[in-house]
């Protein structure tokens, strides 16, 4: 197996995630796209761990999974607060700080 096939898959997932973050209006869907990006990074880390024949990449992939769990918890709490206060999670309507 080539290293590049994993890296290119990861790059494609990353790009799809970037498109999702930019194109969707629903806050929950934006958070899902961010999870897609973090997963692409994880595939990269594990592929390099297998390539370099050492375990540091796998350890950091586990750390990324833990950070992603924390991020989803806080992010969904913020989206729930947003929904409670504005009855909408349309991110294009959240323009309170627009100059």
């Amino acid at each position: 197996m080539y290293l590049n096939q994993f890296l290119l898959l990861s790059a494609a997932l990353f790009a799809i995630g970037v498109y999702g973050v930019l194109a969707r209006r629903n806050g929950v869907l934006v958070l899902m796209s961010i999870e897609l990006i973090l997963n692409a990074v994880n595939i990269n880390l594990v592929a390099f761990a297998a390539f370099g024949n050492q375990l540091a990449g796998e350890v950091f992939a586990l750390f990324v999974i833990a950070v992603a769990a924390a991020e989803v918890g806080v992010g969904l709490a913020m989206i729930l607060l947003l929904y409670r206060n504005r009855k909408s999670i349309d991110l294009t309507q959240i323009d309170l700080m627009r100059g």
């Binding site: 197996m1 080539y2 290293l3 590049n4 096939q5 994993f6 890296l7 290119l8 898959l9 790059a11 494609a12 990353f14 790009a15 799809i16 995630g17 970037v18 498109y19 999702g20 930019l22 194109a23 209006r25 629903n26 929950v28 869907l29 899902m32 796209s33 999870e35 897609l36 997963n39 994880n42 594990v46 592929a47 761990a49 297998a50 390539f51 024949n53 375990l55 796998e58 350890v59 586990l62 750390f63 999974i65 833990a66 992603a68 769990a69 924390a70 989803v72 918890g73 806080v74 969904l76 709490a77 913020m78 989206i79 729930l80 607060l81 929904y83 009855k87 909408s88 999670i89 349309d90």
Partner: protein, 184 residues
């Protein structure tokens, strides 16, 4: 394709290196990669939010398969437990609790969607060019899967400080989420 290459693809034996050609692993990779890419595209384009969460499950399961294909079995199992078991359920709860704000999410307008697609394609093009230029035909060298015991040894010896930092971060995120969402 030359005759030896066809022979290698059919029989799984590479006459150039004299070793296994790993046909089964490449087929497994191709199946998982295509499934993941199709599901990811459907996830960011579907109108139904719940369907998007289910497509996310397919992508995450495919990533777990990729991890196991790479010999990182503990990361693969953790991926299934934490992502599919916990995070997706959290997402489904989030969708349920914010129901009614979006009947069908049709995304932003056509112009901004086009810009977003352009940015994504640009990111992919730049990264693919850099990767193809740097790792032309580098092969994966690992022969056998990594042992979970070795991963645990590394976490609790060299990476003990990041590990403790992550536990404090998880506690802070937990308390923060409760305080933010308590609603009084």
């Amino acid at each position: 394709m030359s005759t030896p290459a066809i022979f290698a693809a059919v029989t799984g034996f590479d006459p150039l290196t004299g070793g296994e050609f790993l046909v089964a692993q490449n087929i497994a990779f191709a199946i998982m990669a295509i499934t993941m890419l199709v599901s990811a595209v459907r996830m960011v384009t579907t109108g139904n939010v719940v369907h998007a969460a289910l497509y996310l499950v397919i992508v995450l399961a495919g990533a777990a398969g990729i991890f196991i294909l790479l010999g990182a079995e503990f990361v693969g199992v953790t991926q299934v437990l934490v992502y599919i078991g916990a995070i997706v359920v959290l997402f489904l709860f989030g969708i349920m609790l914010t129901k009614g704000s979006f009947g069908a999410d049709d995304g932003v307008g056509g112009e901004r969607r086009g810009i977003a697609a352009m940015v994504g394609a640009l990111v992919l093009a730049v990264m693919a060019a850099a990767l193809l230029d740097t790792f032309r035909d580098a092969e994966l060298s690992r022969a056998e899967p990594s042992l979970t015991a070795d991963v645990a040894d590394l976490i609790f010896s060299r990476y003990i400080v990041p590990f403790e930092a992550i536990s404090v971060l998880l506690l802070a995120a937990l308390i923060g989420a409760i305080v933010v969402a308590r609603g009084d």
